[in-house]
């Protein structure tokens, strides 16, 4: 990478302010166009037929009656999505998940789809499709799926990562192991040990906007798609691979996005829409209903986790161990491995061991959800840490401070840490007024830490200077949390112009080079790096243009405060040239002025946060109310502090919902019972207090302004922070998330 991304401390003018967001007016007036808001001439409406069974062999699909229905223009099944994956198992899983081939593997698995002239015809056509199923035994629970008598979803799966390899197939796809030292010896040194099993239920990201797209395939092999996604370039690649299209001939445009949180990093319905359009020869719009979103897209893993931690009486942890069992849906994946890597990452441990176990179940294919896999691991570990602190009689914050990882600590997932920020977040928590505020009757307080890996990735940005000196900035990372504002501020900072003179937009895949998705907390981190680079390239061009305008050597020009200055005794009387001055003459000094950047933004740096939570529990009903909540996290440098606070608050809100109410509830028949927001309860504003935030700014050495990703870490501590608070309030350790009223009442009853 030729761009020097090293941190350079300097005074910043635009960065760190709180201007109005450029997309705000469109969003509050309803003009913003989301996935379902786009239409094409001659467009058809798609609907998907889904399996009502949790596990069933597909014996026959007869679409003839549906195809014969007037107004139906195409019907597709797996036969219309031939396997082009060339042995790539993960790509095949995506294909099979989009349209079941030989077996329906969960309630809601797509088996056929129609495109018709309107929704009424499409619905009628679905009823005319005949599917013969051989219903098979199913399993949805993570622990039951590992039992010897569990129905096996995939007879080809022999557990990886164990020696010797098993001689029979099972639902356990893989074991992974991390750690160092000798945990047995460490536990032998412990004065006190806490050992418990925890469970977390499956949750959905709960994005308000469902998956939606309009796909249009042309007879010449080209195609385009308008879609709600976190990554148009990745959607383009995956869809092209699955449909056998040339990547450059598929143009993908991302709409505004009504939430993604990882769920829109994966394709679900988009290949089906393209297949329907290809068959019908007309554009096809496919919008998933809320029921479909719940049943067939994006949930996180359900988990079952054993934790054992030992410490001496002085509060030193001597050993820590965890076995983490995560569901991955019906296809192999590595979610438990990620959980195993993050579980003890906050601590400096001499002896630590984690084992991740990937478990297949008849539930939807698991997708990333904001710091995927980390919140569940943190729930188990931070609950056990809390118990151990109580057991040895040490303050929970002091216990964590004493054992916190620091520079030079060997992380539980392997490498030795460089400079990291968990210590400052814990110290800030200890000093925070929240920690010493009085509590009332039936109230309790908990706190917890969390860790996440951030990352950067491939990034491409174009910065164009218009004739009037205003700037358009084209980025390839979808704006999920205000990045158009942040990136405009960055461009303004570098160029030395007003924020209002920069207009940032998200480019389509035909207009800009490849960009990785907006995931891994990378949007502002990586695109700001590329924007800085593009702006500096544009400044180099403007210096050359100023040199031509003045007819002096470019070496005699300095860029300062948004202007070209001629330096040296012979040029002192030349008035500086602003961006507007230079832009106005661009047509006669070489044409349009632009700066481009293509880079890999690496060195994002790992992230830590500490949360404090107060709750009040009604002992009669078991209802819990969060009455105060504080998030403390390092942002490196908060480009737009209001949006950083928004990320902290949003992650906390989602985590609180996960901790208290949200869960997939399956019936005995393996069918999802609560596929809607009435029965799957995410927190609304009236459920939450104002979530306080404290932004720490410890510069990231690998970013010119010190920026770190901030999007994901905030969802990691809340499950444990809430659980610790509830446990404090009711006097019983809560080990099963969500900590819903029935679970609290059951725990209270068991205690009596």
């Amino acid at each position: 990478m030729s761009f020097d991304a090293s941190y350079n401390e300097k005074e910043l003018n635009a960065v760190g302010t709180r201007p109005v967001r450029p997309d705000g007016v469109d969003k509050v007036t309803g003009r913003a166009r989301y996935g379902a808001d786009y239409n094409m001439p001659g467009q058809l409406v798609a609907r998907v037929l889904r399996s009502p069974h949790a596990h069933a062999r597909i014996l026959r699909i007869d679409t003839s009656q549906a195809e014969a229905l007037k107004g139906v223009k195409a019907v597709v099944t797996a036969a219309d999505l031939p396997d082009l994956t060339d042995g790539d198992a993960s790509l095949f899983a995506i294909l099979d998940n989009c349209m079941a081939r030989t077996k329906a593997l969960y309630d809601g698995h797509a088996v056929a789809a129609v495109a018709a002239i309107d929704v009424h015809v499409a619905r009628k056509a679905l009823k005319l499709i005949e599917v013969d199923y051989e219903v098979l035994p199913h399993v949805v629970d993570v622990d039951l799926a590992m039992a010897p008598d569990a129905p096996v979803l995939d007879e080809t799966i022999i557990t990886k990562g164990v020696t010797p390899a098993p001689d029979a197939p099972s639902n356990v796809f893989a074991h992974s192991e991390f750690g160092h030292g000798d945990v047995a010896a460490g536990f032998a040194k412990a004065d006190e040990i806490v050992e418990r099993t925890f469970k977390t239920e499956q949750t959905h990201q709960g994005y308000i906007e469902p998956h939606a797209c309009v796909a249009s395939c042309n007879s010449d092999g080209s195609a385009e798609m308008w879609v709600c996604t976190q990554g148009p370039f990745v959607y383009r690649q995956v869809c092209a691979d699955l449909l056998g299209l040339e990547v450059s001939k598929l143009k993908v445009t991302s709409s505004e996005i009504g939430g993604g949180f990882g769920g829109k990093t994966h394709v679900w319905a988009e290949p089906v829409a393209l297949a329907l359009s290809r068959k019908a020869g007309r554009p096809v719009k496919l919008v998933m209903s809320r029921n479909e979103v719940f049943r067939a897209s994006g949930p996180t893993s359900a988990t079952s986790i054993d934790v054992k931690i030992g410490a001496t009486k002085d509060g030193t942890i001597t050993a820590a161990e965890a076995t983490l069992r995560y569901t991955s849906g019906p296809y192999p994946d590595t979610w438990a491995e990620t959980g195993a890597m993050t579980a003890f990452a906050c601590y400096d441990l001499e002896n630590v061991k984690t084992v991740g176990i990937e478990v297949l179940v008849n539930r939807p294919k698991v997708a990333a959800y904001r710091a995927p896999s980390a919140p569940m691991a943190a729930f188990a570990v931070e609950s056990a840490i809390d118990s151990l602190a109580h057991k040895i009689g040490i303050d929970a914050v002091d216990f964590r401070i004493k054992n916190a990882a620091r520079e030079g600590t060997r992380s539980s997932y392997g490498p030795v840490y460089g400079p990291i920020g968990i210590g400052p977040t814990l110290e800030a928590a200890k000093a925070h007024a929240h920690m010493s505020a009085p509590l009332g009757k039936n109230q309790g307080r908990g706190m917890a830490c969390g860790f996440w890996f951030n990352f950067g990735g491939q990034t491409c940005t174009d910065l164009n200077i218009s004739a009037d000196g205003t700037v358009t900035l084209s980025v390839g990372t979808v704006d999920v949390g205000g990045s158009r504002a942040s990136l405009s501020m960055i461009a303004a900072e570098e160029l030395g112009i007003a924020y209002e003179d920069v207009k940032a937009g998200v480019a389509d895949t035909a207009s800009l080079g490849y960009n990785d998705m907006t995931d891994g907390s990378r949007g502002t981190f990586s695109s700001s790096m590329a924007t800085i680079s593009a702006a500096r390239n544009a400044i180099a061009v403007m210096k050359q243009r100023a040199a031509l305008m003045w007819d002096i050597p470019v070496e005699d020009i300095e860029w300062k405060d948004g202007q070209a200055h001629a330096v040296g005794a012979s040029h002192d009387n030349l008035a500086p040239l602003s961006v507007k001055d230079i832009a106005a003459k661009a047509g006669n000094t070489g044409g349009p002025i632009a700066g481009h950047s293509e880079l890999v933004a690496d060195g994002a740096g790992v992230s830590f946060g500490t949360h404090i939570c107060d709750v009040e529990v009604d002992p009669e009903t078991g209802a819990t109310r969060v009455i105060r909540y504080t998030v403390i996290q390092d942002a490196g440098k908060a480009v737009h502090p209001a949006y950083v606070e928004g990320q902290y608050q949003g992650g906390a809100a989602q985590g609180i919902g996960w901790a208290l109410n949200e869960e997939y509830i399956y019936g005995e028949d393996g069918r999802l019972q609560n596929a809607g927001f009435l029965d799957y309860r995410i927190p609304v504003c009236s459920d939450l207090p104002m979530i306080d935030t404290q932004i720490l700014e410890i510069p990231n050495p690998n970013h010119p302004y010190g920026v770190r990703g901030v999007g994901e870490t905030s969802i990691v501590p809340p499950l444990a922070a809430v659980a610790n608070a509830v446990s404090d309030a009711v006097g019983v350790r809560m080990t099963h998330v969500p900590i819903s009223p029935p679970r609290i009442l059951a725990a209270l009853k068991a205690q009596r």
């Binding site: 990093t265 990620t338 890597m341 490498p415 950067g456 907390s521």
Partner: protein
């Protein structure tokens, strides 16, 4: 010489070695030489590996230099949300 630690999932593909010593000045050279020595690593090296150098994780920048005596760790690439 650089001592590289392989995460457990890679070890079966590298004759069960946890640590491998190799002469490499950049991540690209490191991965190339490792793959030459253990051809089975080719598959995970396509898209599954990140490299931690002195605790900083690199997922894509294979031109990154490896300082003398650096701690180098091969990790799985983590998904994001």
């Amino acid at each position: 010489m650089v001592q590289v630690t392989l995460w457990a999932g890679l070890r079966p593909l590298a004759e069960d070695q946890e640590h491998v010593t190799i002469e490499a000045a950049t991540i690209r050279e490191l991965l190339s030489k490792l793959q030459l020595r253990y051809p089975a690593l080719e598959q995970p090296f396509r898209n599954d590996v990140a490299v931690a150098i002195n605790g900083t994780i690199y997922r894509d920048d294979w031109s990154q230099g490896i300082p003398e005596d650096a701690e180098v760790f091969l990790m799985r690439r983590i998904p994001g949300g």
